[in-house]
């Protein structure tokens, strides 16, 4: 933190500090004193060194070149930083977010004489396998096109001129702390399919929705976030590593280019933008990283894409706020966090949503935030304030993680408030039976937890026969359906059809079991049915239908034999 005097500055102006021109942001103005948060290490900076105001607030460069990039919290491309200063991040080096030299093939979709307004799409660039739509910046008023060009341009070159002389390039700048405007917010009623059974099956999130994954260390926040980044059916993914581990980002960087989108077969990296401000990179840039990420996400939404944004972890972001606030000697709120913590969190999640864009397309930003509560205690301020805002809660549980039940999402505490609005979609797109089977599975799990309490007191043999079958069915739901191995090449992604087939098979066993019970078959025999032992194997089979048919046939045979005996 640096204090400057004799500086004409406004809040959140970006300034250059000292002879090394370190980048900083004005965060407090107190009479003559301008307080600056510097984004880099300030060792060796002396009183008396100059401070220069750029007069601009912290903004990102938006345009072709974003996809496949990896940035730090203030949109400096890490790849360029390696070229400029080697393997370690030294200070005082700036680099623009987009390459200003690279040329892109611009294809207009509007022509001279057309009228364009803020947010109107004027042309396209084939950036990766994704088409990057070039828009009139939302803060311009637009007008009639005098000239629009076709060909190869850098992001700084003019591609379009309006009648009033306004020149448009392929790049726009947008201040990160200001949400980008939309025409209208809509209700989220299409699920974001993630390929994760417990999420899609039990606690779905809608496109444009918000979710939080809180959990103690090692419970699986990062693995879940990365699974979502890999497999969710968003068109664009923005992944923010906020105050987390360097190696985790490296993993994403090495793994993603090798992975294919299960739906399109295209490399996953081509739809991804990464922001990596690891725990040992400057705290101020960590605070900014979340805004940088969401602004990029909104920009792609404005093109009419479904974007999903993962922030791992929002607790580190909140802690960055706390560190900055305590250096400002602001009055601390709960547990030392600034009093505006709740407001900042809700402003952030409020930037999610399914919207009608300025160009009258549908687009969405889904926001999924990891939360790292100290000591795994969910009553702490960041978790609590987050839960007040988000609509989906995936509660990670250390106990489940310890026994390697992954994803370690607790099925009793978690919830999704989108179930009702997504009901019809599942009906039409998965199976008319889906919603009923889902409710049935939840009921069995609920029942099991009640029965477990009794078992803890009297042992499982003391349970009534019928309940012993319930326990067995619940075990199948947990071990076959809920457990999913993120590291198995097949199991890592499970289509909705497969999810339905798996749950349906378990339900069939349950139905046959109660019918057999009514017909007087012994519980011990029902529980000993061999066919179900092969159910876990279904997860790991690509062409699982062959196996599933075999299981059905064997189950049929076994039950028939029991009834006849």
């Amino acid at each position: 933190m640096v204090t400057a005097v004799d500086l004409d500055a406004h809040m959140y102006d970006v300034v250059k500090v000292g002879h090394e021109q370190l980048m900083g942001e004005v965060i407090k103005i107190q009479g003559e004193n301008i307080i600056i948060q510097v984004y880099e290490d300030t060792a060796g900076i002396r009183p008396g060194e100059p401070v220069e105001n750029t007069g601009l607030s912290l903004a990102v460069e938006l345009g072709p070149g974003l996809l496949t990039s990896i940035y730090d919290g203030i949109q400096r491309p890490l790849e360029v930083l390696v070229e400029k200063m080697g393997d370690f991040i030294e200070r005082g080096v700036t680099a623009p977010g987009l390459s200003h030299e690279k040329k892109w093939e611009f294809v207009p979709v509007k022509k001279a004489g057309d009228t364009v307004g803020p947010g109107t799409i004027i042309g396209e660039v084939q950036e990766t396998n994704i088409v990057h739509r070039i828009m009139v910046p939302p803060n311009l008023k637009g007008g009639v096109i005098r000239e629009i060009r076709t060909g190869s341009f850098t992001v700084e070159e003019t591609v379009c001129v309006l009648e009033d002389g306004t020149e448009l390039t392929m790049m726009q700048k947008w201040p990160v702390r200001v949400p980008r405007p939309v025409t209208e917010k809509k209700n989220p009623d299409i699920p974001l399919i993630t390929g994760q059974r417990i999420l899609d099956g039990l606690f779905p999130i809608a496109k444009g929705g918000t979710a939080a994954i809180p959990g103690p260390f090692g419970s699986g926040k990062t693995v879940t976030q990365q699974a979502l980044a890999k497999w969710s059916d968003a068109e664009i993914v923005v992944y923010i590593g906020c105050g987390e581990r360097g190696n985790e980002m490296t993993e994403v960087l090495t793994e993603f280019p090798e992975l294919e989108d299960p739906r399109t077969g295209k490399p996953l990296m081509e739809r991804t933008v990464l922001i990596a401000n690891t725990s040992n990179m400057p705290v101020a840039a960590r605070e900014a990283s979340v805004y940088t990420g969401i602004t990029i996400a909104e920009y792609f939404r404005d093109m009419g894409y479904d974007v999903s944004l993962m922030a791992d972890s929002t607790s580190r972001w909140a802690e960055a706020m706390r560190e900055i606030s305590s250096r400002l000697e602001e009055m601390p709120g709960e547990e030392g966090y600034p009093a505006y913590l709740a407001a900042r969190l809700s402003e952030f999640y409020e930037r999610a949503g399914r919207v009608e864009t300025l160009n009258q397309d549908m687009g969405s930003v889904t926001v999924i935030g990891a939360v790292s509560p100290p000591g795994g205690d969910f009553s702490e301020p960041v978790t609590q304030n987050t839960l007040r805002i988000v609509k989906v809660f995936w509660a990670l549980d250390a106990k489940l993680a310890q026994r390697r039940h992954f994803p370690a999402i607790n099925w009793l505490n978690s919830y999704s408030l989108y179930l009702d609005s997504l009901h019809d979609w599942y009906d039409e797109n998965v199976n008319p039976e889906w919603n009923r089977i889902r409710a049935w599975a939840m009921e069995v799990l609920q029942k099991e937890s009640e029965l477990q309490e009794i078992v803890q007191l009297v042992g499982s043999d003391a349970l009534p026969e019928e309940e012993q079958v319930t326990i067995e069915v619940a075990r199948l739901i947990r071990e076959v359906f809920l457990q999913q191995n993120a590291f198995d090449p097949v199991d890592t992604y499970c289509s909705m059809a497969k999810q339905y087939d798996m749950l349906k098979a378990i339900k069939t066993y349950a139905d046959r079991a109660s019918a057999a019970q009514r017909a007087g078959v012994l519980t011990s025999q029902i529980v000993a049915i061999k066919a179900k032992n092969d159910l876990p194997q279904v997860k790991f089979e690509k062409d699982y239908n062959v196996l599933l048919e075999k299981i059905y046939a064997q189950m049929e045979a076994e039950f028939t034999a029991l009834k006849e005996a």
Binding site: T42, A43, G44, I45, R46, P47, G48, I70, L78, E79, L81, V82, G86, D87, F88, I89, E90, P216, G218, G241, G243, R245, G246, N247, M249, T250, E251, L253, T254, A276, T278, S279, N280, V283, E319, R322, E323, P332, E335, G336, P374, G375, G376, D377, A398, A401, Q402, R403, R404, H405, V455, Q456, V458, G459, S460, D461, A462, K530, N533, Q537
Partner: protein, 479 residues
């Protein structure tokens, strides 16, 4: 160089000095006492008139009559190949009677962050010879994996056993150990030093010692000196470096003490609000860099106050490190060494370093199944305490026995017992799993079971008529 005699206030390790020239943040300071003794410190805060200096040594003896010199540079540490085999103090001065280090380079000890883009993914399996680590919480080169322990538990023995046995099977690359002690007792120091000397490890080691009676503030720099040395050895001289930092709890206490002296608003349980960031600036200094031969692997030890894993020190550490090895008092009481409780333990990079071509294709699944089985058995112990063994089903009884067997055979091993991953650890795992009904092995797919389950292996061996060693023939040898 100008010497100020303008100390206005001294509070704990902090010295407040009025000055007229500009002084930079983090600059190095010499404080000259009236008797000529020179003490070192560092600038924590600087404004037009006042500078706050954090003194690395005790402030006893410093008074308003002491002089203050600002050296105009941040802490730079002399590093060189000759450091190998040397024992240095917690602030880097020779402690073994040997000569001063002749610097090949002088490095800033703060250590810049490795650009995530420059990092390479750690994926090389390190065999420690300890089953609960190799088998179920595998360590890889470039990882930071701490030991979470409690006072009076044998974490030092474990750390030493790891330092002795750790190897990449089949590799002959140069390795080095950088050992940094913070606030450890004389007795612990002896334990480490004797072991290093006995095994000849000292030759490949650089040792930094800040003992319990050395100044607490010095502890703030000790791990940074160690890591700066480690990075130099790894990234400039191509060594594979294992860094052992002990005890991080003492480091955090020193951090708290300075925070209190600065009258900062404390965070959770009195520790500074920036402790996460501060610890990250230590733990994150591990890894591999693309195009460099060496690596820094970090093994830090911390003792959990009151054995409480939710205490801020282990809690914040666990959020930064790539897993943790948890030492359990209960297993220790049962007389099991190494008393590693695998349930709360975790190695996050494990999946990168195991499997076909690295360890063996069944590794992951065996590990998962051992976990699940042991967790279930441990749960049942609670139930047995209430309803008695008789109320258990046959299946449950097998799991209960499995948990005992797991502790007795898999966890327990000798201080010098160096188990090979495939022949010892994994096959032992299979041997234990074979005591469970086969259909209960739901974490393992059919194919693996048929290939590795002792029952099928025996069959295969019988059919082919050979008497190749089956898993059940393997016994853990030396105890």
């Amino acid at each position: 160089m100008k010497e100020y005699r303008t100390i206005s206030q001294i509070a704990g390790p902090l010295v407040f000095v009025e000055k007229t020239e500009p002084v930079g943040y983090n600059e190095l300071v010499n404080i000259v006492q009236a008797d000529g003794t020179i003490k070192r410190g560092q600038v924590l805060d600087t404004s037009d008139e006042l500078v706050v200096v954090q003194c690395f040594e005790t402030t006893a003896g410093i008074g308003r009559d002491s002089g203050v010199r600002f050296l105009g540079e941040t802490i730079k540490m002399p590093v060189g190949r000759q450091m190998l085999g040397r024992i240095l103090s917690g602030s880097g001065k020779p402690k073994d009677g040997g000569p001063e280090i002749v610097p090949e380079k002088r490095l800033d000890i703060g250590g810049a962050a490795i650009n995530p883009y420059a990092r390479d993914t750690p994926r090389q399996f390190i065999q420690t010879g300890i089953s609960t680590i190799d088998g179920t919480n595998t360590l890889v080169r470039g990882q930071k994996l701490p030991i979470f322990s409690g006072s009076g538990l044998p974490h030092n023995e474990i750390a030493l056993q790891i330092a002795r046995q750790a190897k990449v099977p089949g590799s002959t690359e140069e390795f080095a150990v950088v050992f940094a002690a913070m606030g450890i007792t004389k007795e612990e120091e002896n334990q480490f030093m004797q072991d290093f000397e006995r095994t000849g490890a000292l030759e490949h080691a650089v040792v930094f010692l800040n003992l319990a009676d050395d100044p607490a503030v010095e502890r703030i720099v000790t791990p940074r000196l160690a890591l700066t040395t480690a990075e130099y050895l790894a990234f400039e001289l191509d060594y594979h470096v294992l860094v052992i930092l002990t005890d991080m709890t003492n480091y955090c206490e020193a951090l708290r003490q300075i925070g209190a002296a600065r009258e900062e608003v404390p965070g959770r349980r009195g520790y500074p609000g920036y402790m996460y960031t501060d610890l990250a600036s230590i733990y994150e200094r591990a890894g591999i860099i693309k195009g460099k031969k060496g690596s820094v692997t970090q093994f830090s030890i911390l003792t959990m106050p009151g054995d409480d894993i939710t205490h801020p020190i282990p809690d914040l550490s666990g959020y930064i490190t790539e897993g943790q090895i948890v030492v359990s008092r209960e297993l220790h009481r049962k007389g099991i060494y190494p008393p590693i409780n695998v349930l709360p333990s975790l190695s996050r990079l494990m999946n990168l370093g195991i499997g076909e071509k690295m360890t063996r294709e069944d590794h992951k699944k065996v590990s998962d199944q051992l976990y699940a089985g042991y967790a279930e058995g441990v749960d049942l112990r609670g139930l047995v305490a209430i309803v008695g063994k008789d109320a258990l089903s046959e299946r449950d009884r097998l799991f209960l026995e499995f948990a005992d067997l797991f502790e007795d055979r898999f966890v327990r091993q000798g201080h010098n017992e160096d188990r090979a991953i495939r022949e010892d650890t994994l096959d032992l795992g299979w041997e234990l799993l074979a005591t469970l009904p086969e259909e209960q092995l739901v974490r393992i797919d059919r194919e693996m079971i048929q290939k590795f389950h002792p029952r099928y292996r025996k069959k295969a061996a019988e059919e082919s008529g050979t008497s190749s060693a089956t898993a059940s023939d393997l016994r853990s040898e030396s105890m």
